[in-house]
């Protein structure tokens, strides 16, 4: 009950005209990122962090969170209309969404997806309201060993599970940690890895890495994208048939629950949640052969699941300071830039902020539902915007963003170096998303490890006497095994079932 009161108070802040405007701007940009080619949610959020410098932390995070879930909605539109997923979470939607569009039922696919996304997000919001504060309460008792175990778990899971290769994922993860070591060491004040450059004494700013590795390198990779497509058909008739209503409703509810449960676990991305939901619907269907040929449940379930997972991934972020996905890692970086430390104390130290951000998710989802039902034809038209017209302006914004950190062109040069690094890494099939997560957590992981070892007379054996920390590490191994099995299955399904033209910018 107390949580509900706090949530209602948060609504007062979130629904203040200026904050509501930032929600509107955030979800609109997010939708644009979702429907336009070449920029994924990670790159989009990274590029726009600098725009939030002048804003107060609440408005800044509301704006960036809006971009996050706005892009989840937007990615669906290209999946259905063009068979091109806007982000990795929408890959599964192509399997039945596009066949529905080819049958002249694009409106139904998009309507069901919008409503499912709304239900999934709302369920995740309820989980945030009722579970997150309790989890934060438990985490208040965490000491350095528990924090170290939790952060290491989140980081390694993302490193191991994102990308095509385990080794490359782990290299990206540890590279992020290595980058976090640049600058003054906190305990003795020793300068590390600055190679004589005074600009690096204070460490590398997260925004330079985010804009360079995620934003600019993504743009450089997509330079040859033409993406001038035409969507001639006007989208109408967004309701499913009467016979499909029951299946759609149950698929939506099941997908939402699957998404929330899986979304809480770091590294179990929205894409995995949507896959599990799809597999569940297919298994429970009376006639599974309909799947892949335009089954409405094949859109409703996965879309509910991926939005629920995206919302639920805010739970570990807000309660433990551990991002569950690449985009929430960018959000974590933004928190830190605005002087906020996500974790259990956030609920006690900054209740007005945290509840306003949570309440803003509700406002954003209502706006997105309206956008996706009432303005769907407008978004469909925007798909036709040519990429060559857009990317130069985005490049200019990226340069301004890097410059505006310290009003220094040397920061822009560092960003360009990271853009080149990101470009080469992507060409060599290294996933870049783990870098963001391990970079933002790197300093804290080192600090908690040093504290843990200082507490211990037996080195790392201290973990054997700390049941929570040990439990987290064991859970890490168990989740990794299960998730890798799911990933193998996902690869099998993609290879076998989808002819989707997947060129997904997932970082």
């Amino acid at each position: 009950m107390e949580n509900l009161i706090l949530f209602l108070q948060g609504m007062q802040t979130a629904f203040a005209p200026m904050n509501l405007l930032f929600v509107l701007v955030g979800v609109t940009i997010g939708m644009l990122i979702g429907v336009l080619p070449g920029i994924g949610p990670v790159a989009g959020a990274a590029l726009l962090i600098p725009v939030t410098y002048g804003l107060d932390p609440t408005a800044a995070i509301i704006l960036l969170a809006g971009i996050y879930y706005g892009s989840m909605y937007g990615g669906t539109i290209t999946s259905v209309l063009l068979n091109i997923p806007g982000d990795s979470a929408s890959v599964i939607t192509t399997m039945d969404g596009h066949p529905l569009a080819k049958q002249g039922r694009a409106g139904v696919a998009l309507g069901v997806a919008a409503l499912g996304s709304f239900v999934g997000s709302t369920l995740a919001l309820l989980a945030l309201v009722f579970i997150a504060p309790a989890l934060a309460g438990v985490a208040l008792d965490f000491g350095p060993p528990e924090y170290f175990a939790a952060m290491l778990t989140g980081m390694l899971l993302i490193g191991a599970l994102i990308g095509k290769s385990l080794v490359k994922g782990l290299i990206s993860t540890f590279l992020g940690m290595a980058l976090a070591m640049v600058g003054m060491e906190p305990t003795m004040g020793v300068a590390r890895f600055n190679f004589g450059f005074s600009e690096l004494l204070g460490g590398i700013n997260f925004v330079l890495i985010a804009v360079g590795i995620f934003g600019l390198s993504q743009i450089l990779l997509n330079l040859d994208t033409k993406a001038i497509v035409t969507v001639n058909e006007r989208i109408t008739g967004m309701r499913p048939r009467r016979a499909e209503l029951r299946g759609t409703t149950t698929a939506t509810l099941r997908g939402s629950i699957i998404g929330v449960v899986l979304g809480v676990i770091p590294a179990i991305s929205a894409a995995v949640a949507s896959l599990v939901s799809y597999a569940t619907e297919k298994r429970l269907a009376k006639d599974p052969t309909r799947f892949g040929r335009g089954a409405v449940e094949g859109v409703a379930g996965p879309e509910s699941a991926n939005n629920a997972a995206a919302g639920a991934s805010m739970i570990p972020l807000l309660t433990l300071g551990i991002p569950g996905s690449p985009t929430t890692a960018i959000l974590l970086g933004a928190f830190m830039i605005h002087g906020l430390t996500p974790g259990p104390t956030l609920f006690t130290d900054e209740p007005e902020f945290v509840w306003a951000v949570i309440a803003s998710l509700l406002a954003g989802n209502v706006i997105l539902l309206i956008f996706n039902i009432k303005l769907i034809n407008l978004w469909a038209k925007l798909i036709q915007l040519p990429y060559p017209l857009l990317y130069p302006a985005i490049l200019a914004i990226a340069v301004i963003g890097a410059y505006s950190i310290n009003y220094s062109m040397s920061d822009v040069v560092i960003t360009l170096v990271f853009a080149a690094v990101g470009y080469v890494m992507r060409q060599l099939d290294f996933p870049v998303a783990p870098i963001a997560l391990s970079f933002v957590l790197g300093g804290n992981i080192e600090w908690t490890l040093v504290q843990t070892l200082a507490m211990s007379n037996d080195g790392l054996l201290i973990f054997l006497g700390r049941p929570i920390a040990l439990g987290i590490l064991i859970a890490c191994v168990a989740i990794a095994v299960i998730a890798m099995a799911v990933r193998l299955y996902m690869r099998f399904v993609r290879g076998k079932g989808s002819d989707a033209n997947v060129s997904t910018p997932v970082g």
């Binding site: 290769s165 450089l220 330079l223 060599l428 040093v450 070892l453 200082a454």
Partner: protein, 156 residues
């Protein structure tokens, strides 16, 4: 004898880079004495992280060699490479020019070069887009968001 692919060469380079950084890390104190007991020093964490990176990058190199791929390119070729160079070069020019010419002129030139020479738009269209976007960005960031963009003697 078959030449190694560019991915193998790059993977070998990654091993060398991490090994060099590990050598640097070994120069920092690994353990330090504090209040009668030893605790991890500034070199402890870097040595472990870079040691793991060296090990992982060697495994990666072995995997790349085993793939026996020789044709993979890290950089594109032909027109795509030319476009990449033009775009990246325009950004570098923007960075070099902005402190002297001011944001608006540097940005307009940077955008014009990309639209006209990298994307092949007509010069009139490119000029219109470049000037319009750079003025819009100047107003958005400097006037509305308060970002102190570099300006020339005329204030823009």
């Amino acid at each position: 004898m078959r030449k190694p692919g560019s991915t193998v060469v790059a993977s070998g380079g990654i091993v060398v880079m991490f090994a060099a950084l590990l050598v640097v890390a070994l120069g920092y104190p690994y353990m330090v004495e504090a209040r009668g007991s030893s605790r991890p020093g500034p070199g402890f964490f870097p040595v472990w992280i870079l040691g793991i990176l060296v090990a992982l990058s060697i495994v990666n190199l072995v995997q790349e060699i085993r793939k026996r791929v020789t044709e993979t390119r890290i950089l594109p070729s032909g027109q795509s490479l030319l476009k990449l160079v033009k775009v990246f070069g325009s950004v570098v020019l923007f960075v070099a020019l902005a402190p002297f010419a001011g944001f608006t002129i540097a940005c307009a030139l940077f955008l014009f070069l990309i639209y006209c020479f990298a994307n092949g738009f007509g010069w009139l269209r490119s000029a219109g887009l470049s000037v319009g976007i750079s003025i819009a960005l100047f107003v958005l960031f400097r006037t509305l968001l308060g970002v102190q963009l570099p300006v020339n003697a005329l204030g823009w």
